[in-house]
């Protein structure tokens, strides 16, 4: 198996030459000069390449074991997690008040890409802890923050999110877990939660669970959910009434413990206002979903590296233009056009997705650090696209990398098939990709009379207009794709108001159409930046930009055509006729 090499040059290109982050008017971004970020990224890369990546296959083979209520993670995971905590990587963007480094969220993403690519399963413990920290930072009172955050930020304690129950995942209004108030101001939590990542394990001294439950007087549905913090161990080290009663056996991410949790009158404390639990969870939604989109392209990035290495080494057949290496028995398969097509498609996706995710992270920073409402509206619009499009295409890129490797792509131990199995979950959790499309069409596009999407279109228009004449082919491709997006929005406005069902039949097409326009936008920006450079690296970026813009982007026309069929064939069959 090829060793993972963190794509430091590509990450630096997006930060310094495309987004020019140190020039952005966002508090804290002035510290993001190329030297500083390069130093941070070099450290993260070292940890990812030498510690996390070698454990990826181990984690898959060993998986997690549940023994008498204790979960054993794969060999090496605990030590590696300790190094992540020690290096301050869990707390990179956490409040300095609680021991965090206070860096922009953006760096959580740039370093997160490397950690995920190196070992997605291990990174999940880190990601869930980060989410729990964010929730407590935003919604817990000072006393709860003081009690839990320092140890979590330091990495001694980890965190979890408890939403799903056996009978409900997407539809959280059906949650049944109860919270009974106690005289001392605490609550007794009782119920069963499933799909709890990191619900139990041996990586940390304590596990802090955030749990959605219902107070006795709660109204029905999602407006009756409250958020509670429930530690595994109480002060003094006594065991709380929460236990892992089962581990899911999954297609992939075997190193991540996916737990069934039993809350049997566990002691917990209310986070935020009563009945405002879902809203509290949703304030972290953009970050959480961007994090999942990042998983999609990060794993694909590593799969692509492995596919390139394989295509250079494996020799079969001859180049159609004549033997490339006549002295050898056969040419390396990278000479074959169809292999090259797979590699270029992967490369164009990964490069575009990285820029898209990092741009999204700057919008989150702008919203949170500068209190910019427009940035908040824009990232809320783009979040479902980042989550669904990057995981959907990331999975496809991993399947494509497998395909380059032929039979070796199907064999255990060569890693290709593990990437496919691992990344598959990203299309499902944190809201299935279908739910993302529903969120985009049902909530985000129409919000504030479509202000956010108009802002997005203006942004695209600005980038197209700023394009130099030598990139007219690229700008023209994005112009055409944007025309398709406008056509889709017009169709929605005309039809969607009268027929919500027809609009939702096209939700997936709109999301994909928009995803392509977003990656097209990023590639045009990258092409503009690359045109200013003179290295072979820049030339390669230009080629890849044209590959995406000229070859992949025309997919928008197909999605518009599909959208325009309305729901006629999608909903025409009675449910009983299936």
């Amino acid at each position: 198996m090829t060793a993972y090499r963190a794509p430091l040059r590509d990450i630096a290109f997006v930060l310094n030459e495309v987004l020019e982050v140190s020039t952005l008017d966002i508090p804290g971004y002035d510290a993001l000069d190329p030297e500083t970020t390069a130093a941070i990224h070099a450290e993260a890369a070292k940890l990812a390449e030498t510690v996390l990546a070698p454990l990826n296959a181990t984690g898959d083979v060993e998986g997690c074991r549940l023994e008498n209520g204790v979960v054993r993670t794969p060999q090496g995971f605990a030590q590696a997690y300790g190094l992540l905590a020690e290096g301050g990587w869990i707390a990179l963007d956490c409040d300095t008040a609680h021991g965090g480094t206070g860096m922009p969220y953006l760096l959580n993403c740039t370093t997160g890409e490397m950690f995920v690519a190196a070992n997605m399963a291990l990174n999940m413990y880190q990601g869930l802890t980060h989410g729990a920290i964010s929730a407590l930072q935003s919604h817990a009172d000072a006393a709860l923050q003081a009690r839990f955050l320092p140890d979590m930020v330091a990495g001694r304690w980890t965190g979890t999110m408890n939403l799903t129950e056996p009978h409900c995942g997407t539809d959280l209004g059906l949650i049944r877990t109860r919270a009974e108030p106690e005289a001392d101001g605490s609550y007794r939590i009782t119920g069963r939660k499933i799909w709890i990542s990191g619900g139990e394990h041996d990586l940390s001294e304590n596990i802090i669970h955030l749990v959605l439950a219902r107070l006795p007087d709660a109204p029905e549905g999602t407006r009756g959910l409250s958020l509670f913090v429930v530690p595994k161990l109480l002060e003094g080290g006594a065991r709380n009434g929460v236990a892992c009663i089962g581990l899911e056996r999954k297609m992939g991410i075997h190193g991540a413990a996916t737990c069934e949790m039993e809350y049997a009158g566990a002691k917990g404390w209310l986070v935020g206002a009563p009945h405002a639990g879902l809203k509290a969870m949703f304030t972290m939604m953009n970050e959480a979903r961007l994090g999942v989109g990042l998983q999609g392209y990060a794993v694909a990035s590593r799969a692509h590296q492995a596919a390139v290495a394989f295509a250079r080494e494996r020799r079969q057949g001859r180049a159609v233009t004549g033997a490339a290496e006549p002295e050898a028995a056969a040419d390396p398969i990278i000479v074959h056009p169809d292999v090259r097509r797979e590699l270029m498609d992967q490369r164009a996706f990964v490069g575009g997705a990285r820029a898209f995710a990092f741009w999204g992270a700057t919008l989150i920073d702008r919203a949170h650090r500068a209190g910019d409402a427009e940035a908040e509206a824009l990232i809320s619009l783009l979040t479902p696209v980042i989550k669904a499009f990057l995981t959907d295409r990331g999975f496809a890129a991993c399947v494509s990398a497998q395909q380059v490797a032929g039979g070796a792509g199907y064999i255990k131990g060569a890693a290709f098939e593990q990437f496919t199995r691992d990344v598959r979950i990203a299309m499902v959790y944190e809201g299935t990709n279908g739910i993302q499309a529903l969120d985009l069409v049902g909530r985000k596009l129409g919000r504030d009379g479509g202000a956010a999407v108009r802002g997005f279109l203006a942004e695209v228009q600005g980038v197209i207009e700023a394009s130099p004449p030598e990139l007219e082919d690229c700008a023209g491709a994005l112009r055409a794709a944007t025309g398709d997006l406008q056509g889709a929005l017009e169709f929605l406005m005309e039809r969607g108001v009268a027929d919500a069902e027809a609009a939702l039949c096209g939700a997936d097409d709109i999301l994909r159409l928009m995803g392509h326009v977003c990656l097209g936008l990023m590639w045009l920006r990258m092409a503009q930046a690359a045109a200013r450079g003179s290295e072979p690296f820049h030339k390669a970026k230009l080629v890849t930009a044209r590959h995406y813009l000229l070859r992949t982007l025309p997919a928008t026309t197909l999605h518009l055509a599909r959208l325009r069929t309305g729901g006629t064939t999608v909903m025409a069959l009675e449910a009983e006729a299936f």
Copy 2:
């Protein structure tokens, strides 16, 4: 997990109402009246549903074990294989001279769909045996046939195909296995073969290996390969010099033993002429590749069934048009447009693919049984499309079925994820899908001055013209898609002659474009047949036809647009720049 239900009504519809097989002028087809085929299919369905399908999960969990050179298949596999043999299912279309039933190859496909859907891994032993029987029937002399075929046809002995070696899969010209002539007319075979499905197991009394190897005076490359038959046990029961020295650990099809084989001077006999081994293998290529395409949609068919069952049972949220079942806490998710879109896409693929595969089987029968050269040319043209398009889209349909099931789709034991892992191999073996595209563009399209593709276009034209006015929307969609195909062929003729590399950069797009036209053709034929019917079943077929023709088929425009970019971006990057 949902029990498998063989889609008998759908299979009968294609045979009796669409292809009208009993009226076709092909020797043996007069026996294929609806009653006879229904009786045969009912028997096959019973075996598939009650014996094979329940073993599918067992096979995945247990896998195969190699112990002291003996391979143990999963519990129940040996008994199930015995029932397949006993029922005559292995020999359905084999020559009656050797104990076969002599039925058309078509029935091997219609029953094969059910056997594959029920248990793809177990079916592979049957499929490989069938392939070995076909090779011996076509190329071995009478003595070898008499010696091996009766026991193989009876199912007491199984067969294998030995092509791949560690350093070569696609590029068989690199094969190194040697064959040394002995005084008694036999040969000593020495070499190592990998990826040998069913190379060793406990399902049969003997295993008959077909092996590609080089004679001492063989020319280099593929023209120096000869075919040998090498039994595991020699006459009298003595062990031959061939052994399984390893089992591959794979992403899926765990119940199928994928063996590394060591030939250490094993005794074998030449099949056919010296140096004509690859040609001998290739005479069965169309059947073998159609069989793999069939795997693609058969597994998808079962995954679709499971997704429908899940979508009917799982309750989350409410229909956008108002609660469908107000008395329940939530509606079944089949009410949601995006779930319905996934189900309709799966359904439209599976139905179209089934008709395409069965039509292909009638062409093979017409070629073999009626000696029809035009049918032979047409099926040779369509074979790479059947293999690659049906496995590629079949995999996508399994991924889509997983998506309907949300978290349950990612869990072991719920079967969804097994379908995805199992069917993934079909995109790789029997020539990767990239090789299929190369075969289509490099060999098949241009053969005999393009006669076959002209014949295909005439066939499509005829079906369009025979369409009644009420199906004009359907016919129009196929007309437009066919226009795209003609545009692609013109582009190839103009550019491909001068620039083979550019042509091959578009090979994948042409194959997909053609795949869509083929499924569009089948759906227009099915729509015409359904329009003549009056059952709810026929109404549902019409809806599904429109779903494919109006919503999916416009993909041809995208593939044409991509093709027209030529190889400019695909090959623009130096191999070193990746």
